[in-house]
Structures are given as structure tokens and as C-alpha cells.
Symmetry: C2
DNA sequence: TACTGTGAAATGTTTCACAGCG
DNA sequence: CGCTGTGAAACATTTCACAGTA
């Protein structure tokens, strides 16, 4: 019998988190954010159309996404904002507090350490690490900077499972290895390089230059389209 | 006759950039980066297997991606690193130099302004904007900070078509409106909010809290899996 | 009636597996 | 022979359109 199946029990089928598509998971935080905003605005209830608009997707996609979490709407009415927010939070594992380590106390690291948006949405960077002697021992963004040798000790003591890498790419793989050895199982990587990690470790990558290059492609395409239109106008004229 | 078709000319079919899938476009910068690294290491030629490993994808995907750009490999040998890099650069529109505006001279904006990775990969932030009187007129990350009222003038003068928003979310929509009015057609948005822009404007969003929440989901799932395994071990024991 | 939830169709992406070429 | 390029199959995601329900 596969783990998680439930052949006898007649309870309403607790949706296995493995069955939620990745594309849906990536949008749940958007929905959650939109729900919080609506809640602060004093709304109690919202239609799929309204929530979809607030999250920047179409309503069919929103309804399909939410259907993966089970049935939480009321036909003819919409969704209860509070209870849907609670439910999405619990699916995302945000009920449990999560401590985060940040490795690389440069400009980007400092900016992230001071970023209120993390704290506001349930995460706390509890420790920073670097190798530079002039940084170790100081505080950056209100957080003490430890030497990277302390990683294993601090990660263990604070129960950290998520880390952010903002080092130069040349150091990133070594840092990732240390993090994995220390017990970290999720990494957000800002260094522009590919990280090699065991299967049980999740890595998400944010590469600013890549984002810019994708935009560049679209600029290039738009320029070509305009040129083509100009040419066909010329032809007609 | 559809724009871009070429019914008479017998040249090798210049692949229409519109036909390159989004998923492929998003990976081309990775391939380009890997090619540059290989080139610096003195390599001349690389197999699909080797390049795929360097870029962190599998080789079938890489070959399919490159096939959208036309045929640039040599069967039995691999790809010529220099010519493939040149070709990808040209598809991405990186042959043309691109000036970038950055709006929001806070910590994150300052970190990005000083980020060498941009310059190294063909982009130059040429102007920063903010509203805070204590910032306007100073230099941040080596760049003068203009008041946001100057946006239209500077964007026009510098021929800027790409902008980065690192303002608080409450200001982001207003900033986006000003950018669009000034002639910007691509935006990289770091503010955690949905931007409403005309169809001809491309927006890419980087939301750090969302990345963390996606990692949180995976942590949560792993914890459940472990619990399920522990339980089934208990049962057997 | 006004909405959600969802099969089914359409579209997009990845992977397979091998033909074909240098 | 070794490797690329690519149809075709498998898989994933999005969209459509409507049955069903409070």
C-alpha cells in the first residue's frame, strides 16, 4: 500500500501535498498575499474573479489551483477570506515558524537582512555568516555576523533548515556543501552558478542578470516586430 | 502573407524569435553563461552532454532548446563554443548595449546599483531615481540619484527601455505608470505587488518572500514524508 | 441566480529514442 | 563511431464551458 493512500477511511480525502502541481504551489503565496491585503481592507468574502484579479491571474486558473487544496468556496458566494488564508498558510507550512541562515554579508546580504518583507511574512533571518575578518564580529542589518566555521554549530542550535546564499559564485558551491552537511535542506541561491546538492535538498535560484537577459530578448523581439510593421507599411505606401 | 515568412528566398530559414518557447528563452542565459565559463577555461568545443551538465539541465532538453535557434552543432563533435555564444547573444539581443534605470534607492536598490554582475553581462544601470529629499542629489553605488520627476527627461535622453523597481509596494504602481509613460517597455519588479501595465510592456517579478514560501512548502512536505516513513517503520517493527 | 468545482480539450514542455550526418 | 537534430510519445499546465449547488 502506497504511503498516504487511505482506502478504508471515509474522511473527505486530505489532499496529499505531493499531488499539488508545482505551478500551483508557486502561485499559492500570491493568493495568500492578496487575501491578506483584502482582509486588511475589511473584506470578508471574495469571488474567484475578484481574488484572481488581485493576484494577477485568470479566474479559471485560480479555481483550478484552489481545487487542489480541497473545496473551500461556497457556490454562489465565493471564498471566506480568513479561512482560505488559514488553509493556504497551513498547506505552505507557514504555521510553523522558520528560522533562516544567510551566508554572504555583502551589499545584497545586508539588504536582505534588513528586508522587512521577510519578517512580515513569517520568516526570520536569525544568523549571518561570512569569511571576511573585517565583517565577522560586526552586526549587519541588526544581525551579528559569524565566521562560516560556526555554521554547523549555529544551524544545529537554532534548528535552521532554510538558508540563503549571497556569496560570490566562486564560493557558492563550497558554502552549499557546508550548509547541506550542517543539515540545511532548502537553499535560496543568489549566486549566478549551478549548485550541485543531494536529491533531498531543494534549491531555488534567483539570478538578476538572467532576468535582465530575458527582458532583453523581449525588447529585441519588440524591436523586430516594429521594424517588420514599418517595412510592411512602407510597402503599402 | 504573415510577417516574417519567407516563401521565395532559399536562405537557411532565419528562426522567428516569436517561435522560441518561453521555457527555452528562460534557459538561454544559463547556456550563455556556461559557454563563457568554458571559454575562459580554454575550451573550444563542447558536447550537448557537457554543456547540459554545466548549465544544470539534461542533454535532450539542451539539444531541443538549441534546435529552436537553428542548427549550430556538428554531429559527432559538438558545438563550437565561441560561435554558439555569439549566436545566443544575438538571439537575446545582447549585441546592442542596454541602458537601465533603477527606481528606489533604498538598501536593495543600492545593492543592485553596485552589483558587478550586471555590468559584466552587458547591462549598465545609468540612472537612479527616488523621492526622498535626503537621497536626491547624492550618489548611491557610484550613481547620482535623480528626483523621480526627472524620469521622463532622463529616460528619453539616455534611450532607456528597461527599468528596475525596488520601491515599497505602495509606490510601485505609480512608478510603473510613470515608467511606461516615459517610454520604458520592460520592467523588473522587486516590489511584492501585481503591476498593471499595457500589453506591449513586459514585466518580470522577483519576490523574495514568495521564494521563501515555496521553499517552506517543500520543507513541510519533506517533514510529512519523514513522518509517514517513521510511521510505517513503526508498524513493521 | 451567481457562483464554485471540474471533466475534457487545447496548449505547452519535457523526455524518449533513433535517423542521419560528419 | 559519436554526436546532433528531431519526430513522436509522455507529461504538465492552462483554458474552456458547463453541471451542480448554496
Amino acid at each position: 500500500m502506497p504511503i498516504g493512500s487511505n482506502p478504508i477511511d471515509a474522511t473527505p480525502a486530505p489532499p496529499d501535498p505531493r499531488d499539488i502541481p508545482d505551478a500551483t504551489v508557486a502561485r499559492l503565496p500570491e493568493y495568500l498575499h492578496a487575501l491578506h491585503t483584502l482582509s486588511e481592507a475589511g473584506e470578508k468574502t471574495i469571488s474567484s474573479e475578484g481574488l484572481a484579479a488581485a493576484a494577477g491571474v485568470n479566474s479559471a486558473k485560480l479555481r483550478k489551483d484552489l481545487s487542489h487544496l480541497g473545496s473551500y468556496g461556497v457556490r454562489g458566494v465565493g471564498y471566506d477570506i480568513t479561512s482560505l488564508a488559514t488553509h493556504i498558510s497551513s498547506v505552505l507550512g507557514l504555521t510553523r515558524h522558520r528560522s533562516v541562515a544567510l551566508v554572504g554579508a555583502g551589499h545584497l546580504g545586508a539588504a536582505l537582512a534588513g528586508y522587512a518583507g521577510f519578517t512580515k511574512r513569517g520568516f526570520a533571518i536569525v544568523a549571518m555568516f561570512d569569511v571576511a575578518p573585517e565583517l565577522v564580529g560586526t552586526t549587519v542589518g541588526g544581525l551579528p555576523v559569524h565566521h562560516i566555521d560556526q555554521l554547523h554549530k549555529v544551524v544545529g542550535a537554532e534548528g535552521i533548515s532554510i538558508a540563503i546564499i549571497t556569496t560570490p559564485p566562486s564560493a557558492a558551491q563550497r558554502v552549499a556543501d557546508s550548509l547541506v552537511k550542517a543539515g540545511v535542506t532548502s537553499i535560496l541561491n543568489f549566486a549566478p552558478c549551478v549548485l550541485d546538492v543531494p536529491d533531498n535538498v531543494d534549491v531555488r535560484k534567483v539570478d538578476l542578470a538572467i532576468e535582465m537577459q530575458i527582458l532583453s530578448f523581449h525588447e529585441h523581439r519588440k524591436a523586430r516586430d516594429n521594424a517588420a510593421i514599418a517595412q510592411s507599411v512602407d510597402k503599402v505606401a
